[in-house]
């Protein structure tokens, strides 16, 4: 266990040193989600609110979108980080270290995803402040839930990022996987539109993303569009979803390594 933690720590430090070298980077990492958030907010402007699903005015909408973005940015930063790192490592010729070291592959993989750890905490904090002060959904009574949300998001996004990371090991063309998973996640996980209003086929797709469950849990605790909702099915769904993903990750890593040993190539690019 200690070994695994050490490997993960090393990966995190490595990425911090590589990527977060100036304040400019920090600012832009916050600017994107904020601009994206504003874009979605304005996308709703042409519509008249009907009170459907408990969203009566722009205040309700901001609370809904705020929590959606808070959770989504955590997932996004993990994936983005894993992706850009694996691309850089491929270009710099250090990606093969994954298979040449005696360290646990799974630990390295999750460490790579967690390279975005500090970034994630920073973005989470900023969005929390927004939700706290602007939309008044966070009150003193449910402030205890914040650390819980952070742990929940960190853990689930780590598993998610780790799985995508394992896919990136396959080929340099695998970056398209990121877009194939990332953009639909915005839609189907309910970051911008409540999943409850989706048609059935879209609801089924939304079950594939761990972010859906995380968002349901967070919104349930904060009391946003929570009428009649239950928390247990979401918790169970999240556990199953993450379990399957961890399994897929382990299988993928073994497969990539075997494949590369057979073709005699442990060097990438």
């Amino acid at each position: 266990m200690e070994k695994i933690l050490r490997v993960m720590k090393a990966e995190i430090i490595k990425q911090q040193q590589y990527d977060y070298h100036s304040y400019f980077v920090w600012c832009s990492l916050l600017i994107w989600p904020v601009l994206g958030f504003l874009e979605v907010y304005y996308t709703y402007k042409p519509f008249a609110f009907t009170g459907y699903l408990g969203i009566h005015d722009s205040g309700d909408l901001l609370a809904f979108l705020g929590t959606g973005y808070m959770a989504y940015t955590c997932f996004w930063s993990m994936v983005q980080n894993a992706w850009s790192m694996s691309l850089q490592e491929r270009e710099d010729g250090t990606l093969e270290i994954t298979f040449l070291t005696p360290a646990s592959r799974m630990a390295m993989n999750y460490g790579k995803a967690l390279g975005a750890l500090i970034q994630e905490v920073w973005m989470f904090g900023c969005f929390c402040l927004f939700v706290l002060f602007y939309t008044h959904t966070l009150t003193l009574e449910n402030l205890w839930a914040l650390p819980l949300f952070l742990c929940l998001l960190l853990f689930s996004s780590m598993i998610w990022g780790g799985m995508l990371n394992a896919i990136f090991l396959y080929s340099r063309d695998a970056s398209m996987i990121m877009d194939v998973f990332d953009a639909p996640m915005i839609l189907f996980a309910g970051t911008r539109i409540p999943v409850q209003c989706f048609p059935v086929w879209a609801k089924v797709i939304s079950l594939l993303f761990p972010l859906t469950y995380c968002l349901n849990i967070i919104r349930f605790i904060l009391g946003i569009q929570g009428g009649g909702a239950e928390i247990m099915p979401d918790l169970a769904g999240l556990v199953i979803c993450l379990g399957v993903m961890a399994g897929v990750t382990a299988w993928l890593i073994r497969r990539v390594e075997k494949h590369n040993r057979e073709t005699g190539e442990l060097q990438f690019y």
Binding site: V25, T50, I186, L187
Partner: protein
Amino acid sequence: MNLIWSTYRRIRTGILRAVPWSFMVSRITTGVIQIIIPYFIYVFFMERNVTDTFYAYAGGADYMTYVVLGSALNVLAVSTLMNIGRALITELREGTLEMLLLSPSPRGPYFAGCLLEQTTRALLEFAAVLVVGACCGAKLGRIFTVSALFAIALAVFGFFCMGLLLSGVMLYTRDTYITQNTLFVSMSLVCGIAFPIQYLPQWVQNVAQIFPLTPAVTLFRNVVTGGQGLLENGQLILQVLLLSAVYLSAGFLWNRKLERSLLESMFG
């Protein structure tokens, strides 16, 4: 002409061999999602409750047509800016910039070759977004008129000129990731892609005028949904041309200065 063609072939071969899927799939997904999200809001969540203010701002266009035209042109803008902007820094990363800078070939045809290569790909993405948009109920009957095609060509020219300046910025900062994403996120917020810019504060609307995408997308919509001719939109055309001239000359001057200092500082 020869140089344009050989640049075209070189880049195309590289892309087909190394990353045949990534670039196109990613932009098509992003473009399609940019339509599907408003579609879901429009149909499933807000149940087609569009306000009268929107119709007033949009000049009578229906919601889906408005969004689809905006997204399609945005896809074209992003791909042109991205490919032209990244041209030089990609050469640097792949280790071929030195050859390029030392060769006697002029830079103009080189960028024209890049443009040719990327436009043929970008138009496919553009078409994909339009087809999905038509399936979502957008009315695109007038897209094949001469005026609409002219509007598209003018827009691509505007993006190209801006891309030239961007390529200098990227080469100077040695960064693509932060520059391009900041630019694209800002553009899709302020240029009137998914909603009329009249909803934004006045000063943001003023800032939006420095991007060629803002007048280009208005022109495109006027021509396709409003059925207007080009002459009625002379002011918008002039604005795109003026912006293009500014970006072109700024990009040209900066790139020339940058290339000189690069030759001094980077290569042995």
